[in-house]
């Protein structure tokens, strides 16, 4: 399941939802707001989403991961709104019987979410400027 979170991402809760008694492997990725990006000192960061479409597209990506890889459960949550340095921006977790599927599906979901889910990052920098960030 893909969700948009307007408050802090609860990684522990998401992990509990992803683990499964039948799945021996669990792969996960967390993206954190750091004080430096593309050579600039970041003071704060905001994510904006086209919520309805983001949730649809995010869930399509999760479904694709289930079709492509032998996985048990997969969750992804993306934070929106104003984030502070040290906040978690995105969480992806996948459980599977084998590590290969867990790793590949986790990476697939993260990459596809970054590329396709309508969410945009706006950074504020120490020089007082701010701007919309183009994709890495």
């Amino acid at each position: 399941m893909f969700t948009i979170s307007e408050t802090s991402i609860n990684a522990d809760k998401l992990k509990k939802q992803t683990l499964d008694p039948s799945a021996g492997g669990f792969a996960c990725f967390e993206g954190w707001v750091r004080n430096h990006n593309q050579g600039k000192d970041v003071t704060k960061l905001a994510y904006e989403a086209y919520n309805k479409l983001a949730i649809k597209e995010g869930n399509r990506i999760i479904q694709e991961a289930h079709k492509k890889y032998a996985i048990t459960k997969a969750f992804c949550s993306h934070r929106i709104g104003l984030l502070e340095i040290g906040d978690m921006a995105v969480w992806v977790g996948v459980s599977a019987a084998h590590r290969d599927a867990a790793f590949k599906a986790c990476r697939y979901i993260l990459d596809q979410v970054k590329a396709r889910v309508p969410i945009w990052k706006n950074e504020s920098w120490v020089d007082g400027e701010s701007g919309w960030i183009d994709q890495e």
């Binding site: 993206g31 904006e48 086209y50 479409l53 921006a89 995105v90 993260l110 396709r116 309508p118 183009d134």
Partner: protein, 81 residues
């Protein structure tokens, strides 16, 4: 035929059009024509090739026909994660 539509702008396209929402009456038949129509309202020249379009919360292509009451969104490249 005149259609009442709503246009949503996201990310840096809000700056391009200086708003996140436009309501207007249009004669444009598809999104491509609508885009050309609203270009005159843009403060900067957007990079059209990188824009994705949606109607009523679903991705569509630029040739998709517009019908009365549609909500059309212009989306710059995603930059989440």
């Amino acid at each position: 035929m005149n259609k009442n539509i709503e246009i949503l702008f996201f990310g840096k396209l809000k700056e391009t059009w200086n708003t996140n929402k436009l309501k207007l009456k249009t004669n444009s038949d598809d999104i491509e024509s609508l885009y050309t129509e609203i270009l005159s309202k843009a403060a900067q020249t957007p990079h059209k090739e990188s824009i994705k379009v949606a109607i009523n919360d679903e991705f569509v292509d630029w040739q998709t026909a517009i019908t009365d009451g549609d909500c059309i969104a212009f989306l710059p490249p995603a930059s989440g994660g």
